[in-house]
Amino acid sequence: MVNKEEYNWTIEAKASLFDLKLNELWAYRDLLWLLVRRDFVSFYKQTILGPLWFFIQPLFTTIIFTFIFGNLAGISTDGLPKPLFYMAGITAWNYFADCLTKTSTVFKDNANIFGKVYFPRLIMPLSIVVSNLVRFGVQMLLFIFMMAYYYFVVDAHFAVTWAIGLFPVIVILMALLGLGTGMIISAMTTKYRDLAFLVTFGVQLLMYATTVIYPLSEAFNKYPAYAWIIEYNPMTPIIETFRYGFLGEGSFSWGSLGYATGVTLVLLIFGIVIFNKVERNFVDTV
């Protein structure tokens, strides 16, 4: 008779909710890098400007925001040069928003591959977050270039603070928050797609509930009764800390950053669990 112990894998109808198969994820780490490489290389294949295209979007958005929100509407920027203020918000926000929207359609976009071959599905959203990191890095270069320009040429008034040391933490928080929320949405849209319609539109709305085009202090000035909505948005402390670190203005507190970290971890864990549950059968319904 064959011993039960001799089998080294099993496939069963039901799996534990918390079996996250992280060791398997590790075994496929090469795939993660190859997917990131694929995304990056295929983005600028057959273009002349290549990775320079990563600059265009934040640059134009900054110009438009400066004109509309800065000059036309006259929203305060905490005394910072307007383009610099907006670009800080846009660069950080874009990274979060890209992670969120791309992750939220991961099942639908990859149904073809997922339907034909097995690999830990978590690799896909992770590769999205890492590929976007490349793009974010390039956009950060643009931001730093702008900072240098305003510092040396325009001689504008701003100062880098110690909080710049929190930059890696902020990036990880944004990545994980986008990843967690995106995975929850992707898991919820495999069968009923209704939520998918909300995502692109919702992310846009969410931007206005985050301190991208105005500082948190301004929100407290104008709408003291409703500013808590903005304060409880976990992206707000992240962007405020980002601005405080790079430009020296913004409402930074350990409490609010700790709150953002807590929300991120809860969403992330919930996201991974629900993603792993859906992943087993989504091919049948997507």
Partner: protein, 420 residues
């Protein structure tokens, strides 16, 4: 006792038919409520067997139902069954693409599954980059691919194009490269779906050779799905016969193929709606064997006939019913008709028995026409399709090699017409 590589116990898979929308959410809630109370899933109680041609009362079907089998290490197993038998579902579950509804599979050794060639190929990337990407998707480590790179490129024969984006490849090169990557996986179990249908004959031979080498030479376990009995017979020593989601037989491959042909209960039989403004209407066209059983497949050398039922709404003189046999490309191979008849109003049947010509293995189409002298009364270009299949051992090799696009001999069939 021999080593078991894969053991499947009580495996079932249910699928939901129809649209998913507002209508399904109430049932989802019902299932969820049953589950939290620890009750049996009400959705699964009502499942039906997967018979595609019959309209069922339930919109849940069992694509696989209570499958049990064991596969020994080193066996090459052919999985045979008609469309809808559950072959692909079984492979999908084994390759972990989708989870079973009930049951358990245990096994040992790494599984490499090839349900499709070139999964994850990116058209913009070069051949080399795609080898790495595809290899990684299939579960290889980078080092492993590096070690095998030369072998893969050699097998695919694309050395010159290695650094060209694969979108510039011919489809043949693309398939060769994709198969080469998968064939060089170091796995104990190899699962291959009908991927060999692509590529030219020479390459198919090479793939089969490689797979044979894998199973016989290296002692790895191979699971292979194909409709091509010839290649299954060449490659496999064991077989699993599935029908409508159930395992019919698990035996050596020769018995399985025999059983598969006997199982043919599918029919090539089509009814047509009649039109009021036609004097003559074709009602039904059917392929039958000489025992008058409707079939969709006929073994080569077995005799067959075409049964045509038609209705006349006025009396017609010099009436002729004719049929044409064409190959899968639509080129006519043979036509036949009966002597002109004077028929009264009523429903008739005409039969055309294939007697002299032996058709080669392949797909054929039947065209049916009703006419009076030079006037066509009703004509259906592609009324039914049927298949001449690989039969028993004694088949002449020349017939096997004969392909359907080479043409056939024209001769008259034995025909008769009688009133119903």
């Amino acid at each position: 006792m021999a080593n078991i590589a894969i053991k499947v116990e009580n495996l079932s898979k249910a699928y939901q038919l129809g649209q998913i929308g507002t209508g399904t959410i109430s049932r989802d809630l019902e299932r969820w409520y049953a589950r939290i109370r620890g009750k049996e899933d009400p959705f699964l109680r009502i499942g039906e067997t997967n018979d595609r041609s019959v309209r069922g009362t339930s919109d849940v079907v069992w694509s696989l139902k209570d499958i049990n089998f064991e596969i020994e290490q080193g066996d090459a197993v052919g999985i045979i069954g008609r469309n809808g038998a559950g072959k692909s579902t079984l492979l999908k579950i084994l390759s972990k693409v989708t989870a079973p509804t009930t049951g358990k599979i245990s096994g040992k050794g790494r599984i490499a599954s090839l349900l499709e060639v070139g999964t994850g190929f990116h058209p913009e990337l070069s051949g080399r980059e795609n080898i790495f990407l595809n290899g990684a998707i299939l579960g290889m480590r980078k080092k492993e691919i590096q070690r095998k790179l030369e072998e893969i490129v050699d097998f695919a024969g694309i050395e010159r194009y290695l650094d060209t984006p694969v979108k510039r490849y011919s489809s043949g090169m693309y398939v060769r490269l994709a198969f080469a990557v998968a064939a060089h996986l170091e796995s104990e179990i190899l699962i291959v779906d009908e991927v060999l249908a692509v590529g030219d004959a020479e390459f198919q031979k090479k793939c089969l050779g490689k797979m044979g080498e894998v199973s016989k030479g290296e002692g790895r376990t191979v699971l292979f799905v194909s409709h091509n009995m010839e290649s299954i017979k060449k490659l496999c020593n064991k077989g699993l016969l599935l029908n409508k989601g159930q395992l019919i037989k698990n035996d050596s491959i020769n018995y399985i193929i025999e059983e598969y042909i006997n199982l043919s209960t599918n029919t090539a039989s089509i009814r047509f709606a009649k039109s009021e403004n036609r004097e003559a209407n074709i009602l039904k066209v059917e392929l039958r064997n000489l025992d008058d059983e409707a079939k969709s497949e006929i073994s080569v050398y077995q005799k067959w006939k075409i049964y045509v039922q038609f209705e006349l709404t006025t009396a017609i003189e010099d009436f002729v019913c004719a049929i044409g046999v064409s190959n899968m490309l639509g080129a006519p191979l043979k036509t036949t008709w009966h002597e002109p008849l004077n028929l009264q109003v009523g429903t008739y049947a005409a039969e055309f028995i294939e007697d002299k010509t032996t058709f080669a293995i392949g797909l054929y189409g039947i065209a049916v026409g009703l006419s009076q002298k030079n006037t066509t009364l009703h004509y259906i270009e592609s009324a039914i399709n049927f298949e001449i299949v690989y039969g028993n051992e004694k088949v002449n090799n020349n017939v096997l090699r004969f392909t359907t696009d080479t043409g056939a001999i024209l001769d008259q069939m034995i025909s008769s017409v009688y009133k119903l």
